[in-house]
């Protein structure tokens, strides 16, 4: 069969002040009709550039320097503007990455979808609306007839992505492109969207190209995979071959770095050392040579051969053919090919018995209207409770993972602990002293001992300060004068393994991993006892996130730090946490030792998070979606258990009574009337507080 899409030798360059970035070099792959092909790669791999090249919608400074993109036997690159306008949205359509920013906020869905149908002149306005309603219904939007007249901001994140898929499928395109379709969504939403995409593909028999860094998504959704690294295709093939018999060392390393694939708990995560090469002057030979564990002298000088596997797949590597051929490559799956490094701690970690941070029954409320207006309208509770009766302890030398989806209140809890937002009840103790609601002047000394590592590493650094100034800023703030700032900057850079040459750089010149290191250095500048890290790996590539987490583990071992790690990423955090606390709608629903919680969840929501992550294994695809719907708004908290509206095991009692916190077994607590696997765990009634 002729391929629907065939990319041949595509090369794209970007003109920048530093010179021409050779973003794509001789990229070739083809897509057979009715297949789902995944393009996988880390940031800088050029996977999005491929996607936008197909639509001829590259940024203004991009130049296509060579190659062809054949769609149904005609080259896209030679089509006129008029022809491209007729094609986009009609024959080729796109599902976008972030539904929050990719839909215009000031037009209703009815209008946006009518505009997409503008080429169908024969259809009346009413018919176009009807088609939109039908399509919204098909993607699972309730009350589509009413919803179609709403605006994007009236939709929740998951619903918006559903609507985005509806817009893309509206014209019945023959080729659907999806650009990181689940990256902006929560875990439970991700599973639903993957499911929906697969269903829509089956129904319309469209050909789909998915671009993603998420191996789980690729394994779960795709038939074939194209692996890209630094602007080149390094390997391509059937999804099972790629995930089970990866030929290229990069593919192999990428798979090994994915924490979701590592079954046993591991305090040290594997990493691919080094950075992506500078594409202004791409290195000779193999593009991956500088970071490859199996690099040979010829890799640095000679371009690797393309070796086919006889089933349509291929990889480019000297290990597979020619003089460098190694019959023992690739090694069996259980052998690790990438560096993991020595474990930071030998044996048990030194965990103190007295808690460093002890939060008990903390409540945080946010006002929804002014007090006067609330009186006028007769609203008795003009607030929402973002954190409800939360209790959590962190000991010195211990790592506690606080896990939940967006809107679960995990960041609010951390901010309340640090006195950055007011709290309305309960207590926060640091080394035994109650610090809740302390005046800022009295609290300031505590800020040296308990610090926050912020989520957005670049956004939380002042763009006009050098790295040197940034990492010594905490000393300035706390008026520490008897130190040499230059010496301190170098000491801290050493501590977080940041090359000293970077000290005079500015935040925008740093890579994501380097910016995280600066953030860590700032947090550690004053030798704190407790570090609260907000999503320490969000936005980092798989091969880099291990480096940051390993660094954090090393620093903990050296300095006996207590960590509270806030994240939505359960697979990552379970490897480095001693204990996990799972949060839903402001309540901690389960807490206990990390491996136990992960292996045998008691609360159905924990189970959802554990099972909700798409597995990077095409043989373990889920056939059904574990949990439906989305996190409800704080404004209409369900009656009874907070999770009742989405819980697959909910019974009558759950709708009426808020489940109390119950201690179950060894150091485990949960808030569920009917905990999973309850029979096997001896239960003991009573409050855990």
């Amino acid at each position: 069969m002729d391929p629907v899409l065939e990319v041949r030798d595509l090369s794209v360059e970007f003109r920048t002040a530093r010179g021409r970035i050779k973003a794509l070099r001789n990229v070739s792959f083809s897509v057979q009709p009715g297949r789902i092909v995944g393009i996988v790669g880390e940031s800088g791999s050029g996977k999005s550039t491929v996607l936008w090249s197909i639509l001829d919608l590259l940024a203004g400074n991009a130049i296509v320097t060579g190659g062809q993109i054949r769609f149904e036997d005609r080259d896209m690159l030679t089509r006129s503007t008029q022809e491209m306008l007729a094609l986009r949205g009609e024959d080729v359509s796109v599902v976008f990455q972030d539904p929050m920013t990719s839909q215009i906020p000031v037009l209703t869905y009815a209008r946006q979808m009518r505009d997409i149908l503008y080429r169908r002149r024969g259809l009346g306005k009413a018919r176009k609306r009807e088609m939109s309603v039908e399509m919204l219904d098909k993607v699972g939007i309730p009350d589509p007839d009413m919803r179609v007249d709403q605006y994007p901001h009236n939709f929740s994140g998951g619903m918006r992505q559903r609507a985005g898929i509806a817009m893309a499928m509206l014209t019945g395109p023959r080729l659907l492109l999806a650009d990181e379709p689940t990256t902006a969504l929560d875990v439970t939403m991700e599973a639903q969207i993957i499911h929906l995409l697969r269903e829509m593909q089956r129904e319309t028999e469209a050909t789909v190209v998915v671009v993603s860094h998420n191996l789980g998504l690729i394994a779960e959704l795709c038939d074939e995979v194209v692996v890209m690294y630094a602007g080149e295709v390094v390997e391509a093939g059937d999804v099972r071959d790629i995930f089970h018999h990866a030929q290229h060392p990069y593919t192999r390393a990428l798979l090994e770095c994915d924490p979701a694939r590592i079954e046993e708990k591991s305090h040290r995560l594997p990493v691919i050392p080094g950075d992506i090469p500078d594409l202004v002057q791409p290195p000779q030979g193999c593009i991956f040579a500088a970071r490859c564990q199996r690099v040979m002298p010829r890799c640095l000088t000679e371009a690797p051969p393309l070796v086919e596997d006889g089933q349509g797949g291929y990889a480019r590597c000297h290990l597979l053919a020619g003089p460098g051929h190694d019959v023992n490559w690739p090694p069996p799956p259980e052998v690790l090919t990438v560096a993991r490094g020595a474990p930071a701690t030998t044996g048990a970690k030194a965990v103190s018995s007295e808690p460093l941070l002890e939060i008990a029954d903390l409540n945080v409320q946010f006002n929804t209207m002014g007090p006067v207006w609330a009186k006028v309208r007769g609203v008795k509770q003009p607030w929402v409770t973002a954190v409800v009766d939360a209790s959590i302890k962190v000991h010195a030398g211990e790592t506690v993972g606080l896990v939940g989806e967006s809107g679960s209140g995990k960041t609010t809890l951390a901010r309340a602990a640090l006195n950055l937002v007011g709290s309305q009840g309960g207590s926060v103790r640091f080394e035994g002293q109650d610090i809740r609601g302390m005046a800022e002047a009295a609290f300031k000394p505590f800020r040296r001992d308990m610090v926050m590592m912020f989520q957005d590493p670049v956004g939380s650094l002042s763009p006009r300060k050098s790295v040197r100034a940034l990492i010594t800023e905490p000393m300035k703030i706390h008026g520490i004068r008897n130190v040499d700032p230059d010496h301190e900057a170098e000491r801290l850079a050493d501590m977080v393994r940041l090359p000293k040459a970077l000290l005079s750089r500015y935040p925008h010149e740093l890579s994501g991993g380097q910016a995280r290191r600066v953030g860590a250095a700032r947090a550690l500048a004053l030798n704190p006892k407790l570090v609260i890290a907000d999503e320490p790996t969000a936005g980092l590539d798989v091969s880099v996130q291990g480096e940051i987490l390993n660094l954090m583990a090393e620093l903990q071992a050296e300095h006996g730090l207590g960590y509270l790690i806030i994240t939505h990423n359960l697979p990552v955090v379970r490897h480095i946490s001693d204990r996990l606390a799972i949060m839903y709608l402001g309540r901690i629903v389960e807490e206990g030792p990390a491996d136990e919680v992960f292996a045998a969840p008691l609360h159905p929501y924990t189970e959802t998070l554990v099972r909700g992550v798409p597995q990077p294994d095409p043989d373990r695809r889920r056939t059904h979606v574990v949990v439906k719907g989305e996190v409800p708004s704080l404004l209409n908290r369900p009656r009874g258990c907070d999770f009742v509206s989405r819980c697959p095991h909910a019974r009558a009692l759950c709708h009426q009574v808020v489940p109390p916190h119950v201690t179950a077994g060894h150091r485990r607590t949960h808030a569920c009337h009917f905990p999973l696997g309850a029979a096997s765990i001896p239960e003991k009634e009573g409050s855990s507080r």
């Binding site: 639509l55 919608l57 491209m84 306008l85 007729a86 094609l87 986009r88 949205g89 009609e90 359509s93 796109v94 976008f96 972030d98 920013t101 990719s102 839909q103 215009i104 906020p105 000031v106 037009l107 209703t108 505009d115 997409i116 503008y118 080429r119 605006y151 901001h153 009236n154 817009m167 207006w373």
Partner: protein, 314 residues
């Protein structure tokens, strides 16, 4: 929505009240007896006494203020000292000329400035953009009274295409319109530049948004993307600017009305200040302020009408 309107109207009333208070205190702060100030130094004692009685000048100050504020609230802005006609009537006679001037000036500035800004943003760093940029800065920098004088010299004196002064024969709309052209041109010119710059800046920002790329990916035409999508978002800050600009336009109109001898509100206030005709100054400023508040409120409501996010948060 209703809560929002109530709040905004309440705030507007508070602003007007403050303005009334300031205008009233101004009269109290001027040295000398208000009656003498009003009637002049050569007024007879009887006349002063009669005036003081009529104007409640013998009552305590706070009572005087309440009487004034109460009258103003019912539309009675007092009596002109010279003609003894009601101030409200005099202002109503004149305000039409000012409103016509302001709306004509802003109207043509919008009709030209907004498309120019769009054009410059859609073709950034081309000759269209550069010329628009230079012209914008140029027109912003030149004060409107200078433009007025040049406009009279060129179009009225040398070319004799348009009348130089006055507002035209009452009742003759065509004549009134020809008299409106030059002042509206002079007052609006710098606004063409302002609006072009403003629209260009916000258009450039919006054209870089992800949803514009989405619209392109769905194959929408450039025209629909620019005018149907991007402008709808980019115009929002411009509307606020225009609303606020009306305050500036009222003072720009003073110059134009003096130079072109148009019998508008600005000229009325100016003449009354010169003649120390305080009831008219007070009334004129009060009306101008209220007008401004109405326009600002209107522009905020317009934004809410265009942007559903703002509408839902009201």
């Amino acid at each position: 929505m209703i809560a929002y309107l109530t709040k905004r109207l309440g705030l507007s009333v508070a602003v007007v009240f403050l303005v009334v208070l300031m205008l009233f205190s101004l009269l109290q702060l001027i040295p000398g007896d208000p009656a003498t100030v009003a009637l002049g130094p050569r007024a007879t004692p009887e006349a002063v006494a009669r005036y003081a009685e009529k104007m409640h000048l013998n009552a305590p100050v706070w009572q005087q203020f309440l009487i004034y504020a109460g009258n103003a609230a019912t539309g009675d802005l007092g009596i002109d000292v010279f003609s003894e006609r009601a101030v409200t009537t005099i202002i109503l006679e004149r305000i039409g000329f000012t409103l016509a001037l302001i709306f004509a000036a802003m109207g043509w500035a919008m009709l030209l400035g907004i498309p120019l800004g769009c054009l410059a943003a859609v073709k950034p760093n081309t000759w269209v953009d550069r010329i628009t940029g230079v012209l914008s800065v140029g027109t912003i920098a030149v004060p409107s009274f200078l433009v007025s004088i040049w406009a009279i010299l060129i179009f009225a004196v040398n070319l004799r295409w348009l009348p130089a002064i006055g507002a035209g024969e009452p009742g003759d709309t065509a004549d009134q319109l020809t008299h409106l052209i030059l002042p509206a041109f002079a007052v609006g010119l710098s606004w063409v530049g302002y609006l072009a710059r403003m629209v260009r800046a916000s258009m450039l920002e919006v054209m870089g948004e992800t949803y514009i790329r989405s619209a392109r990916a769905f194959g929408l035409t450039q025209r629909r993307i620019v005018f149907g999508y991007a402008l709808r978002v980019a115009i929002l800050p411009t509307i606020t600017l225009i609303g606020m600009g009306f305050g500036g336009l009222i003072s720009a109109a003073v110059f134009a009305e003096i130079i072109f001898a148009r019998p508008g509100l600005g000229k009325l206030i100016f003449d009354s200040v010169m003649a120390r005709n305080f009831p008219i100054v007070q009334g004129g400023v009060l009306v101008a302020t209220s007008l401004y508040l109405v326009v600002v409120l209107f522009s905020d409501l317009l934004i809410a009408w265009i942007d559903p996010r703002v509408r839902d948060s009201l």
